[in-house]
């Protein structure tokens, strides 16, 4: 399956990109997605090992199971207001 991954703010600047797509085995979790991204090596290993993540615009934890076509966002610490 394939998921779309979005990056924002400091992450976007570190990686030099606002999004990527990742192929994953069926049943892969958020945690496994993060590992897969970091395993690409520099600069992807700058992604924190346990970032906050949103799946389809809702916060999800590392054990959340992904589905084909999910929109996954890496959420740096937020600073609204």
């Amino acid at each position: 399956m394939t998921v779309r991954v979005l990056f924002f703010a400091a992450h976007r600047e570190l990686l030099g990109t606002s999004e990527t797509t990742v192929d994953l085995p069926d049943g892969a979790t958020v945690g496994e997605l993060v590992q897969t991204l970091r395993a690409r090596g520099a600069p992807w290993d700058l992604i924190p090992s346990r970032p906050a993540v949103a799946v389809n615009r809702r916060y999800a934890d590392g054990s959340h199971t992904l589905g084909n076509g999910d929109e996954v966002a890496m959420i740096p610490p937020v600073a609204g207001g």
């Binding site: 924002f8 615009r57 809702r58 610490p77 937020v78 609204g80 207001g81």
Partner: protein, 146 residues
């Protein structure tokens, strides 16, 4: 009546205030967040607000819904600005009207505290010396399954 928006347009406090109130309500609280000229002692010249806009819209609607529930179903309106703001400009406006004052303060406070904890928005400070820096934020918690 609840209303929320995430926008790049300047915020008009009077328009947000106008979305709440009425003869059933005895108290109105309007909160405004504005861009300060210093942060942690460093002179600031402006602020860039970035957001995951689609999610921020959804999250702000949820937060405003929670606040209305706290206030017994009373009207709550909130808007968060994105883009580059000058000193003194309004980054967030929250209006609540309730029958009695305690729940108006409580609901208003809920909205701003939850915005700071979970709205996917980031800000980059521009300092008078020309440097910029991302403002240190708060790691949002995963949502508990409903």
């Amino acid at each position: 009546m609840v209303w929320s928006d995430v926008t790049t347009e300047p915020i008009e406090p009077g328009a947000v205030l106008g979305r709440v109130g009425g003869a059933s309500y005895g108290a109105v609280v309007l909160f405004l967040g504005t861009v300060r000229n210093t942060n942690d002692g460093r002179p600031v010249s402006g602020m860039e607000y970035h957001g995951y806009e689609a999610m921020a819209q959804e999250q702000l609607a949820v937060i405003v819904g929670e606040a209305s529930e706290i206030a017994g179903g009373a009207p709550v309106a909130a808007v968060h600005r994105l883009g580059t703001l000058a000193l003194g400009e309004i980054s967030v406006a929250i209006a609540v009207s309730t029958p009695h004052r305690a729940s108006a303060f409580e609901a208003s406070r809920h909205v701003i505290e939850e915005i700071k904890k979970r709205l996917p928005v980031w800000k980059k400070e521009h300092y008078v010396d020309g440097r910029t820096d991302w403002v240190k934020g708060i790691q949002p918690a995963p949502e508990t399954a409903p």
